[in-house]
């Protein structure tokens, strides 16, 4: 790729905004918080961040807030991700790899169903059983 200038970056952003804003409803008010403490980094949290950006982009979703936090106290199931989606219980997923990220985007963020086998904290057992509904 040719070396971009900040002006190129600004123009690209404006172009993308015009293209996408109208149909960008899936990610509205959604937030993904990735545990990026030493434990998270060692377990591959950066791959998780990269994959979230890639998969959201593949689904043309641009408005999910992707942020980071330190260790969530779940070092034994890193990488961990907290997912906040309106209408869904706040959920902490553990042992998240690239495949799990894909499931979280498609199932949790788009289809509004929990990825039950990676839930490590937050929703109680009966909520998980009902797929988050």
């Amino acid at each position: 790729m040719a070396k971009m200038t900040l002006e190129d970056l600004r123009k690209l952003r404006e172009k993308k905004q015009n293209e996408l804003n109208k149909r960008d409803i899936n990610g509205k008010d959604c937030q993904v918080i990735i545990g990026m403490g030493t434990c998270g980094i060692a377990a591959g949290a950066k791959v998780v961040l990269d994959t979230f950006l890639k998969v959201l982009d593949e689904h043309k979703i641009t408005n999910v807030a992707v942020t980071q936090t330190g260790c969530m106290g779940l070092c034994y199931v890193e990488p961990t991700v907290e997912v906040l989606v309106p209408g869904m219980p706040d959920t902490i997923y553990g042992k998240v790899d690239a495949d799990t990220v894909r499931k979280i985007v498609v199932q949790h963020i788009i289809d509004k169903k929990l990825v039950a086998d990676h839930v490590y904290d937050r929703p109680s057992a009966d909520i998980i059983k009902n797929g988050g509904r």
Partner: protein
């Protein structure tokens, strides 16, 4: 233990981002043999006693995690530096800030691979902190050099935010284009390196 040198960078930078810093400066300097990182902040700094303790894996200040007994960021880095004949220094003054320097000999068989700098810097620039972050990257080859520099405030101005997935995808593209430019220089100057 971290897999890539960039993982160490991300880990160490976070200390600066959480130290009430006004500006965090990151330098990544590469020549044919060494990659040297400098992470400097003007945050709260550490006393000499705390500096020594920070290098002990069984020490943490207990502020972030009340019952935690370990702090592994700096010890992980020091261990890898020691194992690979690298360089490490930590200088700090309370109320003035901290500078951590570390370098790796890329010819040493046990040195971890460099990793993906553009995506690492996406994580750095999107970290929820309000300070200025300046990242400077340089490459020297036997025939010349190349460099690039990015500042958080200018990226915020160009992208509007550093939080939404759409902005972060564009940020990654932007940073990758800077790094691709250095890769082209590296390959044309030193074909045998690749």
């Amino acid at each position: 233990m971290h897999v890539f040198l960039c993982d160490f960078l991300l880990d160490i930078v976070q200390n600066s981002l959480e130290a009430d810093s006004g500006t965090v400066s990151i330098l990544i300097e590469e020549d044919r043999r060494m990659i040297r990182f400098t992470v400097a902040d003007d945050g709260k700094g550490m006393s000499e006693e705390t500096q020594a303790k920070a290098q002990d894996p069984f020490y943490t200040d207990g502020i972030k995690h009340a019952k935690r007994k370990v702090g592994l960021g700096i010890p992980f880095l020091k261990q890898t530096v020691d194992e690979t004949g690298g360089e490490f220094s930590l200088t700090s003054a309370e109320g003035k800030g901290t500078t951590v320097r570390f370098g790796f000999d890329m010819m040493h068989v046990d040195t971890p691979p460099f990793g993906d700098l553009p995506s690492t810097l996406v994580a750095v620039f999107s970290y929820p902190a309000s300070c200025e972050i300046v990242a400077k990257r340089s490459l020297s080859t036997s025939l010349g050099s190349g460099k690039w520099e990015v500042r958080r405030s200018l990226l915020l101005d160009a992208l509007g935010d550093l939080r939404s997935s759409g902005s972060l995808v564009l940020l990654e593209q932007y940073l990758r284009s800077q790094e691709d430019d250095l890769d082209a220089i590296r390959i044309s100057h030193d074909p045998e390196i690749r």
